[in-house]
């Protein structure tokens, strides 16, 4: 049973960011997180990655519970984790060795092959993003957590990300994606709301329409 979240509570610096987040994503499924800026999309992704301790509730990926040192999770954040001093091929080769996988498919997948000898510091923002996302393909992780993956990508880039995601899902992987742009992907959507904010109409203001 894929990724199961039950009443997850996330705190950051003592402040309650998210409470009672529950959802189920089956193997081969994707979940798109939506919600206004600051609602906790990044916090949720970092909690699932085990970088922020989970304050309450449970998060399970297949048979293991998620948290610090959990295996099989890969995160691509706002930042691309790309070193300006390494070439594209060196960057991919490093991650492939670290994860114990083969770099060739990642080099092909994002149209990075023609850039292989170029220093990452000389790539455009979109090319850096592609290089950063190619790391997910190398990780061999079953759960991909993606924070705004399509920022600064062109339409071809978005199509390539979608194709990469579809291959990952087809192999029984799971993806949780936070995005403001629509991805052409069959995915469930979860809209996050800030906790503790009463959304009922204020009884003292009913009748006023200022």
């Amino acid at each position: 049973m894929g990724l199961v979240l039950h009443n997850l509570v996330c705190r950051r610096g003592g402040r309650l960011i998210l409470s009672d987040v529950s959802f189920v994503v089956p193997a081969g499924g994707a979940l798109v997180l939506r919600g206004p800026n600051g609602v906790g999309k990044t916090t949720l992704l970092r909690s699932l990655a085990g970088l922020i301790p989970i304050a309450g509730g449970t998060a399970r990926l297949f048979d293991t519970s998620l948290g610090p040192e959990a295996e099989g999770v890969a995160l691509s954040g706002h930042l691309d984790a790309v070193k300006p001093g390494l070439t594209v091929a060196e960057t991919l080769a490093f991650w492939a060795r670290l994860y114990g996988t083969d770099m060739a498919p990642a080099l092909q997948a994002f149209g990075l092959a023609p850039l292989r000898a170029r220093a990452a510091g000389r790539l455009s923002a979109g090319q850096k993003r592609r290089l950063g996302l190619a790391r997910l393909a190398l990780s061999g992780a079953r759960l991909w957590l993606m924070d705004e993956p399509t920022v600064s990508l062109d339409t071809d880039g978005v199509a390539e990300v979608t194709a990469l995601l579809e291959r990952h899902l087809a192999m029984g992987g799971i993806a949780v994606i936070s995005t403001h742009l629509s991805l052409p992907l069959a995915a469930e959507t979860l809209t996050l709301r800030a906790p503790g904010v009463d959304t009922r109409p204020d009884p003292f203001l009913t009748g006023f329409d200022a």
């Binding site: 295996e71 999770v73 070193k83 670290l98």
Partner: protein, 216 residues
Amino acid sequence: MNPALALLRRDVLLALRSGGSTVEALIFFLIVIVLVPLGTGPDADILRALAPGTLWLAALLACLLSLDRLFQADFEDGSLDALALSPLPLEAIVALKALAHWITTGLPLTLIAPLLALMLNLAPDRLVWLLLGLLAGTPALSFIGAIGAALTLGLRRGGLLIGILTLPLYIPTLIFGARTMADAPLPALALTFALTLFVLALSPFATARILRIQMR
């Protein structure tokens, strides 16, 4: 290639390519050693007496120079998050990064030190002890420094703060290290090495713990 070797190779490569930390440390080391006779005067006996302490102090300070970049660059570009989620435990990542720092800073300093020691009129029969002492002691400088680098992560002008936090912890290494050039060098060398082994065992766990808090 083994994942640990891949990380070590990457960090050494980045340090050498970013043009500078090794060369900076060596030039700083050289300048301090050249300045000391200008301050104390050219009296050969005074210089000989000052040489062990001066060499070790200069090596300590040169090591500090590049410590603030140990985790900072990876923290700023998101690589640290990605490394933390890799199959290598964070403790191993910390140890490998500190080792890469030693290879690009402590080791070159050690190798050039005998040459500079001649400028301070250190007796030639003490040169081998200087070399052995630095070889045994400088890894501790990188590994203690890793704790300071992790504590000051994300701070602006953290470099100065690293010095304030780290230099007091360098005191035992400095004392025993400089004593390796005294009349009975062997016990001091053994103690320097023992201290380094203690730090090597402890620092990765402390540093990884601090980094986990910094990444929240």
